[in-house]
């Protein structure tokens, strides 16, 4: 990706979306069965430029602009994958991913099971998701929980450029279907050094972003910005918050989470998706089960409200804030 780096002009420092691009390029270079397809992924390089330059570096056979057909974008890769390719399909925005659910539930997630291993489905479905960029209607939702409930797939959400690179490489190399959701609000929020070393990250591990002994803050994707911000504020209260990036929602690394809360006894789970039935519920449920005896305070969930994502003018009233996280943490600290 040397040219990308020159492009970015930050010697080796990439944004999250550039890291996605770097991982795609790396995977395509290393493995000719990797095929990138989706709407506007070719000449346009993707509406967020995640697939920029891929068409030039590879070719139109491997970088395919599709017709405007999400059900097909979800289904065609099942056939490709069963024949030994590794398709990476882009859904332009999560708001348009719903027709893909049928393919994930009824086919991709169970091709291996149905055929007792004869056929399999090593595909990746990528989609930018989440709010906070004042995007048009239907462009800001966070519905990751719908995917995390589907047996037989993996659900991965990166929170930084380096994680995006390593997790996407892992997702593409994984022998089973992976839904890879990209927090578009932080696509260009930060840069970090992301060596194009082809090293993948594990798909079954949560990351401890910050160690602490007083309370555990758990989140994923863009909300880690608010969560880490909240941890800073709490430090001013003299509280050391441990911050966990779940990263792989499915399969969930409950061990890391339970281990942390076993030490802190307190927990705030943060996500942008609506509260009810959000993936935070699963984490809280694990704590109410195996983790219960370690809890000294009620598990707090700071999430989007159970309402439709508002249009930009009222969007900020929907999005969880560092303030709400801090307030929840302080409530938790009130218990002895």
């Amino acid at each position: 990706m040397s040219e990308m780096r020159q492009d970015s002009g930050h010697d080796g420092e990439l944004t999250l979306v550039e890291a996605v691009n770097a991982a795609l390029a790396r995977a395509m270079r290393d493995d000719e069965t990797v095929i990138v397809l989706g709407e506007d992924v070719g000449l346009d390089g993707g509406v967020f430029r995640a697939t920029e330059h891929l068409l030039e570096r590879f070719d139109a056979e491997r970088v395919r602009d599709t017709p405007l057909s999400e059900a097909m974008i979800g289904g065609l890769p099942v056939g490709l994958a069963a024949m030994g390719f590794r398709p990476v399909a882009e859904i332009q925005f999560m708001g348009f991913i719903y027709p893909v659910i049928d393919q994930l539930v009824n086919h991709a997630s169970r091709m291996r099971t149905r055929t007792r291993g004869r056929l399999s489905c090593p595909l990746v479905v990528r989609a930018p998701y989440g709010g906070g960029i004042h995007a048009p209607e239907h462009h800001s939702e966070s519905m990751e929980a719908l995917f995390a409930h589907i047996p037989g797939i993996r659900v991965v959400i990166p929170s930084s450029p380096a994680k995006a690179y390593g997790l996407l490489l892992a997702a593409i190399r994984d022998p089973d279907p992976v839904v890879f959701l990209e927090p578009k609000r932080i696509y260009r929020a930060t840069r970090e050094s992301v060596p194009d070393d082809g090293v993948a990250l594990p798909l079954d591990r949560a990351f401890v972003l910050r160690e602490g002994t007083d309370i555990t803050l758990i989140s994923w994707g863009a909300m880690l910005t608010e969560t880490l911000g909240a941890a800073d504020t709490l430090r001013d209260d003299g509280l050391e918050a441990e911050v966990i990036d779940v990263a792989t929602l499915k399969p969930l690394d409950a061990e890391t989470i339970l281990g942390s809360v076993a030490r802190t006894g307190r927990c705030v789970i943060v996500h942008e998706a609506p509260l009810t039935g959000g993936f935070g519920a699963e984490i809280a449920a694990r704590l109410a089960g195996e983790g219960l005896m370690h809890l000294v305070a009620p598990v707090e969930r700071v999430a989007g409200w159970d309402t439709v994502m508002p249009l930009p003018r009222l969007e900020d009233h929907y999005m969880p804030t560092a303030e709400r996280i801090v307030a929840a943490a302080r409530r938790a600290m009130e218990y002895a």
């Binding site: 709407e39 506007d40 070719g42 000449l43 346009d44 390089g45 509406v47 602009d65 017709p67 405007l68 057909s69 999400e70 059900a71 097909m72 708001g95 348009f96 027709p99 004042h134 995007a135 048009p136 209607e137 239907h138 462009h139 509260l275 409200w305 159970d306 309402t307 439709v308 508002p310 249009l311 930009p312 003018r313 009222l314 969007e315 009233h317 929907y318």
Partner: protein, 353 residues
Amino acid sequence: MTVTASFSIDYTRLIDPDGQPVAELPAFASDRSRLRALYRWMVLTRSFDARAVALQRTGRLGTYASSLGQEAVGVGVALAMNDSDVLLPSFREHGAQLVRGVSMRELLLYWGGDERGSDFAGPREDFPVSIPVGSHASHGAGVALAFRLRGENRAAVVALGDGAMSKGDVYEAMNVAGAWNLPVVFLVINNQWAISVPREQQTAAETLAQKAIAAGFEGCQVDGNDVIAVHEVASQALSRTRNGGGATLIEAVTYRLADHTTVDDASRYRDDDVVSRHWQEEPIARLRQFLTERHGWSKGDEEALLEECSREVEQAAADYLAEPAAPATSIFDYLYAELPAALASQRAAVARD
């Protein structure tokens, strides 16, 4: 081997790019006031688009999809609709929405990120724009079924792009509209592009009109930059369908002269000179030529009209910019007819913030 079925697709153009008649013109083409109305709405639409883009560029509007170059389609069709018909617009049919009675202030509110912009004071039954491509097509079939069940002499008009014609839900909606002989017109605005994907890559079908053959009803093509042809074809299709003739598809062949939206940079994927060539065919100059030659449209008329339109647009922009945001709690107030008790605490929390 025997032939069991055969089909053909017609193309209608009445005025050529130079404003010259190339076929027998419908009666209204000799009615200056009706032509002026068509012209005025197209000019107003173009001024509105320009203003909306300017507002976005200066950070006072959200992402916006200009209809530059396509004005004849929405305007020509909407003026053929009855007030009692229902429009189900895509996100680029500003002209049609304006003709229908949606105010420019409402359009700006919507594109400025305010739900109140879809609470149209005018056409109370028209649908809000569908940002998701094509998923409103089946709503059009449902609206048409409602008319049929009530025995009403009304039609639904669903606006779709060339890209939308690749969507399965659009096909399903067309298929049921055919099977149930519903009073709905599928208006396909073929502007040759779906963001960066050209029409030819969208489908191997020579025309988009022929997609109707799969659904068992009539499809036709019309020169989408010839507002007289569009208006005529739409008027006929609408009266046919209102009177039990069943669904129709109209493919209006036009060209997207603007970027896809204000966040798009079309130069990444198409040559400017191709675009300039299409400027030769744009609908407004074409009708102006015809008006000038046949109906003595003068420089004075033109300036007065531009003046009038820009005044209206400026007023709407001012009203829009003066509109305070709705209260935060309104994000809960239209979720259900009545807010479930279970959500009262969430609403209260928002009220506190």
